[in-house]
Symmetry: C2
Subunit: 353 residues, 2 copies
Amino acid sequence: MPPSQRRKQKHTTNSRVSLAMVAAHAKVSTATASRIINGITNKASEQTILQVKKTVEELGYRPASIGRALRCQESRMVGVLAASLANPTMSAIASSIEWALRDEGYIMSLCDTHEEAKIQDEYLREMQSQLARAVVIIGAVQSELLTDYRNSDTTLLFINRPAPDQENSYYVGINNYQAGVDVANLLLQHGKKNIGIIHASLNFTAAAERRRGLLDRLSEAGIYPDDVPHAHIEGLNHLEVGYKSMQTFLDMLKRPDVIVCLSDMLAYGAYRLTQEAGLDPIKDMTFFGFDDNPLNPWIANWLNSIGVPANLYGPATVAALKNIWSHSPPTEPVYLPHQFRLNKEFFLLPLKK
Amino acid sequence: MPPSQRRKQKHTTNSRVSLAMVAAHAKVSTATASRIINGITNKASEQTILQVKKTVEELGYRPASIGRALRCQESRMVGVLAASLANPTMSAIASSIEWALRDEGYIMSLCDTHEEAKIQDEYLREMQSQLARAVVIIGAVQSELLTDYRNSDTTLLFINRPAPDQENSYYVGINNYQAGVDVANLLLQHGKKNIGIIHASLNFTAAAERRRGLLDRLSEAGIYPDDVPHAHIEGLNHLEVGYKSMQTFLDMLKRPDVIVCLSDMLAYGAYRLTQEAGLDPIKDMTFFGFDDNPLNPWIANWLNSIGVPANLYGPATVAALKNIWSHSPPTEPVYLPHQFRLNKEFFLLPLKK
DNA sequence: CTTCATTAGTTAATCGATTACCTAAGCACT
DNA sequence: AGTGCTTAGGTAATCGATTAACTAATGAAG
């Protein structure tokens, strides 16, 4: 190749530039180069520092995080396992966490466990094998490795769905029990007593807690669990579970006035059947959901929902992680303040403490 | 510690088990252990193989992918950069890609660029620094590093939104131009001529192509661009852009019969304003969108949309990657077959080729 | 003049896994 | 006996970055 074609040797960086190359170009050792790049200035002269920085610039050097991770046995990566990315609530939470993590110089690696224990375990292993700084699980499922992981030194943080076996785990998210209580309260305040519940699997702590709060408060008001019809079918896809379960209520002689769905996705499914049956989801009944999906105000304003704004999750998650890493970890769960989003048909009452 | 507490030394694996430990326990060299673990059997006796496998089992050894990656200069990780995880269409695509990748033994690392060039560049760098096997971009934005990346040896694949500068990039997704043409066709077949367009930034190739296809076909039918009113405001959030843009049409003396939104999210925004204005999104007008958001049949059945089922993306993406890696890469874009989802008010006509 | 401290570096080990190259033993063939 | 081939492994370099431990030079203090 004629020299005229070699250009300034600058942007011919098609193969990776290593620290060794930088050191060689700057005529220093890799140790010196490494220190300067990491901001340790007390081991080099002003001149050398400048020299190295110039070389880094010229060669377009970026440290290979993999090398650093191997040596330091710790990376800047945080693994986030979401139970279902097809659920907009979880995606929105993940998105918020991503913002907050990046703000602190961390990199998010997001995975989709599809609510399956085996896949969750696979990713847990992979995260460990990639030396993730922490693993954040949005919607954990019970799995073999989850228990093992507790004893390891990797930080494990549960979002919105507490650890399946509860004990000494870190949690950030909605207080599911209290949210259930609050929904019951609001309904009682409006004199709504004919209430039906649509739920999917109750094996997940979040759903079970929501239902418990709801029924506890209703019981206090004299409405006992037997008075509260439940609709449920087996399945993992909440949209379909909601759709099919709703049939139970449509078939009833005396249909509930209020349909409380233990997740917004269940409500979406129930809504579809309601529409197909020619009923009005606002005038003919009242729908309540949990999670407050960010799309609700845009295209599902028939739904009343209770949840935490997605953008609160990121900062809270990062704060919790930093807490765990620094001083003694907070064994108390971090409850984010949930809010109602009510449709205009529903009186907007202040939420009693 | 009394020996009675030491148990079987089995599940006390709280600190990572390394290959060296396995080798030591099995009384072989790391070379032999490594070979056996990787299935290279012609360098060890039956006995040794069994011995090593037993030790792996006992110690619960999992290779640290980071070590392998460093040595082989290549990992099993594929980086996926999504422009906005808050957009359910993109999340659903990501989810599908995750399935397909895992099926082939790859690990997805998903990131959210929030439609920002700077963040996209940051992640591109990080992916390179993590030695990602490939980078898949769902909704690329024009950015400095994107061009540089082309010359590097990392595979770059664009999903649904072609590379900003078009030339020799790999693409999998909808044929945006043809989709525009097809929507125009369908409208013409139904005699709909009074059409309005809501769009966000036209700097993105996807939106620009959709619009071009639409207008080209309409022009052929004698409806020229000047006859097609456009509504648009600045902004990145399609929900808000749609909401505010819709005002333009509501204010018009002769409102378009058909509102074509260049993305479903725009349509969701327009829908909200339509509802607030007390209009019926089916009877008073016809909404068309692009992408066919998976939630549409459940909670947005007023919307007609054109798109590709999300679950087609995964297999197609993986197939494209494998193609690129194996023989000479396919320079032709891979177009997935798009389909209409029409609401019941809209006649279901066969889609003319 | 000797001793000690400081500055400005370098050398080499290390993280975990892979693999080119070497070795030693066993067997067959001439 | 010598040569060649196969089998069953071991040795050590390597990927990229970090860092403990060392060195050489200079200056200051006694």
